[in-house]
């Protein structure tokens, strides 16, 4: 066991250590870490290892040390704790500790009715919250045998693709921020603010939209949304190229991401990774094409795939997906049918007992919801499958061998959102 802080090392040169080697002080202004329970925050857990993997991880070989990239750190992915085992500057092993944002959403959803579930499920991946709603709504519509009107489907696709662009733009900004570039995040937030104000005109909220309903959406398109959307569309392609060009050819960015954190095809499939990370590894799996839902069979778009599997490939896939999303939005606007935006449903939703799985393609991967109904007003079991959870699971495989400076770059390139990981 490596020596603990404060043991056999005086904390101040003015104090005289006593015979036992432990510094003591009568000065009430000096509070030693061990007095307020610093043991809790040491990287090494204070209990003996309970599993094989924990024992293997928390055993230090010669020349290794632990570094606690704690739940609070400047990389803005949220509260994630990575206990990193380092040998010099090189990472030997990493143990992600989750749960700092576990809010018990599944349990709350079991005690809520179906309308409230859609609201509760928003803050999971807060950056792209419509996709959680979409997965939940797909699952409930299967439980209740509801057909969604075509106009509602087109509005869903339209708002979803807009939010996908906003999420990818933020992803590019965060990736650059973690590599040290402070400018792209500002560009990213400008674009995101535009899109999100558009969606606020449509749904009423900037971030946690609560817009989708079982059987449709909450409200029809309105003038403000359409005028903002028109303004944005006239600039969208050029803005995308400009933001992407800021980073694509930047030598520092490319050299720090090319060949770093390679997730190959076999490993990605064994993890169950989905979304852009899987497509960057060479598997063209996109839920919109593999298992189409909504009106995606009628829309014409490509699924960008790359084979390298490194961070640069993951980044370039997102850039390509933004272009594809702009194409999809264009088609939606041209083909928008008329009609109602909500199916006719009873106020009190009581489906027959049964089980349903609904999955949609979010910006990070396949977002799935498995719900069990017992005939009452709310779901009996509401299980959320979040793509960021599986993406984060690849971190102990991707990080070892890289330098510490690449930690945040690799984690950022996987695009984790802690709300979804911790539910």
């Amino acid at each position: 066991m490596p020596p603990r802080r404060g043991a056999d090392r005086p904390t101040s040169t003015r104090e005289k250590p006593q015979a036992g080697g432990q510094p003591s002080t009568d000065d009430p202004r000096i509070i030693l870490d061990r007095q307020i329970g610093a043991d809790l925050f040491e990287p090494i857990p204070p209990y003996p290892p309970r599993t094989e993997r924990e024992g293997e991880f928390y055993t230090l070989a010669d020349g290794e040390m632990f570094l606690n990239v704690g739940p609070h750190h400047p990389a803005t992915h949220g509260v994630l704790r990575l206990v990193v085992k380092l040998s010099g500057e090189q990472i030997v092993d990493v143990d992600p500790v989750l749960g700092y944002l576990h809010r018990g959403v599944e349990k709350i959803c079991e005690n809520s009715d179906y309308y409230h579930v859609i609201d509760q499920v928003d803050p999971l991946e807060y950056i792209s919250s419509l996709f959680q709603e979409w997965a939940a709504v797909l699952s409930f519509e299967k439980l209740m045998d509801v057909t969604v009107p075509r106009r509602a489907e087109y509005i869903r696709v339209l708002s979803g693709e807009l939010l996908r662009i906003a999420s990818h733009t933020l992803y590019m900004g965060f990736l650059a921020l973690d590599l040290g570039g402070l400018t792209p995040i500002l560009y990213g937030f400008i674009e995101r603010d535009e899109i999100v104000e558009m969606l606020a005109a449509l749904t009423g909220a900037r971030m946690l939209f609560n817009y989708f309903r079982i059987g449709g959406v909450n409200g029809d398109l309105n003038h403000e949304f359409m005028s903002r959307l028109g303004d944005w569309m006239s600039r969208a392609a050029r803005q995308t190229e400009a933001s992407a060009g800021l980073l694509n050819e930047n030598e520092i960015f490319v050299r720090r991401t090319r060949g770093v954190g390679i997730l190959d095809r076999a490993t990605a499939l064994r993890f169950g990774v989905t979304g852009g990370n899987l497509r960057a590894a060479g598997v063209p799996f996109d839920v919109r094409r593999a298992h189409p839902y909504s009106v995606y069979p009628e829309l014409d778009f490509n699924v960008p795939t790359r084979t390298e599997g490194d961070s640069l490939a993951r980044y370039l896939i997102r850039v390509d997906e933004v272009r594809e999303s702009i194409k999809i939005i264009d088609q939606c606007l041209h083909n928008m049918p008329d009609g109602p935006v909500m199916a006719r449903l009873p106020r009190l939703l009581r489906p027959h007992p049964g089980r349903a799985w609904g999955a949609c393609e979010g910006p990070r991967g396949m977002m799935g919801v498995y719900s069990i109904s017992d005939g009452s007003d709310g779901p009996f079991r509401f299980r959320i499958h979040d793509p960021s959870f599986i993406n984060m699971e690849t971190v102990p495989t991707l990080l070892p061998g890289n330098l510490l400076a690449d930690t945040m770059a690799i984690v950022a390139s996987l695009d984790p959102v802690m709300g979804g990981i911790d539910k």
Binding site: R29, T76, G78, H102, R103, G104, D119, I190, D193
Partner: protein, 237 residues
Amino acid sequence: MAVGDRGSRVRAAPARRLAPVPPGELATPIMVPNTLWQPADPLAYEGGRPADVTHLRGFGFTDAGRNDAARWGALQVVPTKADHILDLIRANSLWPLLSGLACCAIEMMSSATSKNDMDRWGMFPFRASPRQADVLIVAGTLTTKMAGPLIRLWEQMPEPKWCVALGDCTVSGGRYKRSYSVVQGIDRVMPVDVYIPGCPPRPEGLIYGMMQLGQLVKDRRGRWNERAIGPNAPDDI
């Protein structure tokens, strides 16, 4: 040990009484001759003769409820108007600590970036280290597992410090009122100065809250003797 309660940390002073000063009279100050070092310029520090003014009372400073002398430690020889200027300085340059936990963090970042610019009020540098930060903006749901590290961050921040609860989850537990792992409002664990409701609050709302905090800094002059853990709203609300 209650967090934020200075009284419980500072133990009672040892039983060594100073000579009591009769009210209204000036006591003779204890002058310690300077034998430690010599200034380079022999005429500096008034040439070595003792200073004329030795008490703040000489400057018209009274003790009637504005006892800032113990508060702003090193500046006891500065006239009291400077305390007001200090508060203005602090209010216009509140450096937040990056403490984004969940969704409200995105709105906090959005209010710090170009479109809603918090830099106009001097708040752009989000410090990563608590030692350099003034304000702890708790943005996002606080869970029981994260409460420990967050309190640690709060304790590490040097005074003067303020705390802003951003979003419904930090104000009262919000949409997670029934949850088993969410702290129902951060005022259960730390003293809060400004509450900003919303789920999430708009960036303009956050900026309004920070402006209220600036006003509070100027009004309350940073005294936190009456701050305690728990809702700090007055009883007549």
